[in-house]
């Protein structure tokens, strides 16, 4: 073997082994948290929210996504290989975090993350697909033994042996002590083997999201609280249930939220989600993040 060629062969082998040839494209799928037409920020208040036109003050806004793929011209979903940054992304999971621990966001972290970063094979992409939540094989793991971002206590759902897929907490005019939206799997029952994670959950509550026409170079994913809450009365809470919606099928406060997330609820089939939509990046052209 020609020893001089060895490093090149090795490099080619490593790239090939990674499933992507040298022509891999870096992508950053950017998110923008909004409340209607206004940008989301801890410490602000937003009026005219929900069926009672309530005023809302944020306390938390974070969610996990996985199964991230771009749709190519042929309509084929091409998985995004996530950068393993040791913090926001682990294997196929990304935590998106819009709270910065300021204002009323007291349980939060100062760090924020507004993007999914990874690589796809060079190509032309015209759509985005992802799943809101943590995949089953990671959801029911011991948080004290997991790397970030699966080790956050604020996103653990320990009583239910899982995680909060999405955590959207705020106080409102009618509920100054708080309205909390915790989306996660429910109806989970154990395996016969002791200390095993739940064998199955009757309501997995993972929302599949699809944004056609999404171009990662020019577009952002808008996560709009006002759209999520537009059919909810956030000034009252159904008696005998948690304040807000903790994914219980018996909590009527969950019904409009699940509908807007495109999730089935208490026997009602899933509809079309309206929480996420495509938007144009404020600084259009090529995002500086694209090469990062």
């Amino acid at each position: 073997m020609n020893l001089k060629a060895f490093p090149f062969l090795l490099a080619a082998f490593l790239i090939a082994g990674n499933g992507a040839w040298a022509a891999a494209l870096k992508v950053a799928i950017r998110f923008q948290a909004m409340v209607g037409s206004e940008k989301f920020a801890c410490g602000r208040t937003y009026s005219g929210i929900g069926t009672t036109a309530s005023t809302l003050s944020p306390r938390d806004f974070r969610f996990y996504v996985h199964n991230v793929a771009l749709i190519d011209d042929a309509g084929k979903a091409v998985p995004v290989q996530l950068d393993q940054d040791g913090k926001w992304q682990l294997d196929d999971v990304t935590l998106l975090d819009f709270e910065d621990a300021s204002g009323g966001c007291v349980n939060g972290t100062p760090e924020v993350n507004d993007r999914i970063a990874g690589t796809v094979p060079e190509g032309h992409y015209t759509g985005l697909r992802f799943t809101l939540g943590v995949p089953f094989n990671k959801n029911h793991t011991d948080l004290t033994a997991q790397p970030p971002p699966l080790n956050l206590t604020a996103l653990s759902w320990v009583w239910n042996a899982g995680r909060k897929f999405a955590r959207v907490d705020f106080s409102t005019t009618g509920l100054p002590r708080g309205f909390a939206i915790h989306i996660g799997s429910t109806g989970c029952m154990p395996n016969a083997i002791k200390t095993a994670p739940p064998a199955q959950c009757s309501a997995e509550n993972r929302a599949g999201i699809e944004l056609p026409g999404f171009d990662p170079q020019t577009d952002v994913v808008i996560a709009d609280l006002a759209a999520l809450l537009k059919d909810s009365n956030i000034d009252t809470n159904q008696e005998g249930t948690s304040a807000g919606c903790m994914s219980s099928p018996d909590d009527g406060d969950c019904a409009p939220l699940f509908a807007n997330l495109g999730l089935p609820f208490a026997g009602r089939p899933a509809g079309k989600q309206s929480f996420f939509r495509k938007g144009t990046a404020p600084e259009s052209k090529r995002s500086p993040a694209a090469g990062n």
Partner: protein, 578 residues
């Protein structure tokens, strides 16, 4: 001869030294029989040929009763290597060998003389000791100091017990810095003197939020296969410890998202800078949430209760440790008429227990007919029991049966504290469910469709009711409620001897003084609630920590002092002549 024994086993029905509740079938008096031989390998070895010829056919060479003959018997012969053997005294084993037990364990008095039977007792003991050594091998060198008759608990393989972890866990359990506003510790809601409950119907969190349910006792929690009132997913104490710290519905310790604050607080404490590395020596940075939960869980596994008067009656040498009324109550408790033991049986007087090599993970939840609301749910939300996890209507109102150990000090009762007294709890089961006449919870609980078949109601005379209550009160374990190893480690010695601590006054007469041993023997009057009277010729030994006081005592002198229990000893203080 072997053929004869096999025949005996098959034609009879039972070769068993324990009844269905794991209690010895030998009479209580048998406990007091004493072996004429000291324990020695020679005596045990002498009995080996007898064991192999007469016993191994049914019980197996290893004592585990896994022989083909054992399998064909209506009731499997006693597992002589099993943990239940530890609650049998030598005298009881001797009695069973001599008299037989049940219907097919024959008497061997005809084949073996008395000496040979006592030697056989030693051989049988050795079978359990061998098995225990095998179990210990699996669990590591930690010395559990288990009460007699308690099996080795199951411990998660990634958190073996060490005394260093237990010590760290004890400090953490009592440390208010585990709550964000530093007002509450685990021990705030799990108080030792109340058998690790807090006397509230609903737990009260550090921010003033009420918990929908009451704090459960942590007594013998090492054996619980599922934790809290009705959570089938909560399998380990390590995972459970996260709920009060980081849970938000309701807020308990209020540490949600504040794990860094917590670890920083602990790191800044000089004592923890010693305890954490000692407990987790292989970790570069032992200050982790995982270490906190593992240490707390290790401490919780030492909260063991097996020294109640009932235990001393059952396992000890004291046939009078409980009253005649309590003995009658025991009979009622374990009767098919009252059915109590179906859900509160076994060494922990509870439905489901887990322990090393049990082989099955059983978890039971029962609806006891507390409510029968009209409408969607028969129980008042949010306390829907197992339903909260399974979302199945037949699981509404199903909760875990708690241990009845120390039940007299854990009022109020039921998941929501809705029964205030032990008497009322007994009456609830007597009537087979609770009827609420008016208000939002009105309904006839006895007619709840999910109610357990064992909650069927029973007749109980006034005397029987008093007997049953006397039995339940005999389950209160003073060693647990006052034992120093479970107490707040930072409390000063002075606080531990504070005036609110119950004081027992003892009046007696000095028999003998032992200045070197720091002890005295007395005849004495009854100390109500602590020790029965001891009259000549039986004397009782007491420790006297104050050497000067001890020196001043003379045989025959009448004295009065303050007495307290310390482990298996009694300690006399503030002595004076009377």
């Amino acid at each position: 001869m072997r053929a004869l024994l096999v025949l005996l086993c098959i034609t009879g029905t039972v070769c068993h030294a324990h009844d269905a509740h794991g209690r010895s079938t030998a009479p209580v008096e048998a406990r007091l029989l004493k072996s004429p031989f000291p324990v020695s390998a020679e005596h045990a070895a002498a009995a080996q040929p007898f064991y192999e010829r007469l016993c191994a056919g049914c019980h197996g060479a290893d004592g585990k009763a896994r022989t083909p003959i054992a399998g064909r018997l209506p009731v499997r012969p006693t597992d002589l290597a099993g943990y239940l053997m530890e609650s049998m005294r030598d005298g009881e084993i001797f009695w069973v060998v001599s008299h037989g037990a049940g219907q097919s364990m024959p008497s061997f008095a005809g084949q073996l003389d008395e000496s040979a039977r006592w030697e056989l007792v030693q051989y049988v003991r050795g079978l359990r000791l061998h098995q225990r050594a095998v179990e210990r091998e699996k669990l590591g060198p930690y010395d559990w100091n288990l009460p007699p008759g308690f099996p080795l608990p199951n411990v998660p393989p990634d958190n073996p017990m060490t005394k260093e972890k237990v010590e760290l866990g004890r400090y953490l359990f009592y440390d208010k810095r585990l709550s964000l506003n530093q007002t509450q510790a685990c021990a705030t809601c799990h108080r030792q003197e109340r058998a690790f409950t807090d006397g509230r119907a609903h737990g009260l969190g550090s921010t003033g939020e009420l918990h929908p349910r009451g704090p459960m006792s942590l007594v013998n929690v090492a054996y619980s296969p599922a934790l809290t009132w009705a959570n089938p997913l909560m399998r380990t104490l390590e995972a459970q410890a996260l709920v009060p710290m980081f849970g938000e519905n309701p807020v308990e310790l209020g540490m949600t998202g504040k794990e860094d604050v917590l670890l920083q607080r602990l790191k800044s404490d000089a004592r923890y800078r010693e305890l954490f590395p000692a407990a987790f020596p292989s970790q570069a940075d032992p200050f982790t949430v995982r270490a906190v939960t593992q240490a707390i869980a290790s401490f919780e596994r030492t909260i063991l209760s097996g020294d109640s008067p009932y235990d001393r009656y059952r396992n000890g040498d004291d046939p009078n440790a409980i009253s005649e009324s309590a003995k009658r109550g025991e009979g009622l408790f374990f009767s098919e008429r009252l059915e109590c033991f179906h859900c509160h049986g076994g060494f922990n007087l509870t439905g489901t227990v887990d322990y090393l090599d049990k082989g099955f993970a059983e978890v039971e939840f029962h609806n006891t007919g507390l409510y029968n609301l009209k409408g969607k749910f028969s129980y008042p939300p949010p306390n829907l029991g197992l339903y909260e996890f399974s979302h199945q209507q037949e699981d509404v109102g199903k909760f875990k049966a708690p241990t009845l150990r120390n039940i007299a000090v854990t009022a109020p009762y039921m998941h929501d504290g809705s029964i205030k007294t032990l008497e009322a709890a007994v009456d609830h089961y007597r009537s087979g469910g609770r009827t609420i006449k008016a208000g939002p919870n009105a309904g006839v609980g006895a007619q709840n469709l999910n109610k357990s078949e064992f909650v069927k109601g029973f007749d109980l005379s006034a005397q029987e009711r008093a007997d049953l209550l006397a039995f339940l009160r005999a389950l209160t374990d003073r060693t647990l409620l006052t034992g120093p190893s479970l107490s707040d480690p930072t409390a000063t010695a002075a606080a531990r001897l504070s005036p609110q601590r119950p004081r027992y006054v003892l009046r007696g007469q000095v028999v003998q003084v032992y200045p070197d041993a720091g002890a005295v023997t007395l005849y004495h009057d009854e100390v109500p609630g602590l020790i029965p009277a001891m009259k000549a010729p039986n004397e009782m030994e007491f420790l006297v920590p104050d050497k000067e006081q001890l020196k001043s005592l003379k045989p025959g002198q009448a004295i009065v002092g303050s007495v307290r229990r310390q482990g298996s000893d009694y300690v006399l203080e503030s002595l004076r002549a009377r």
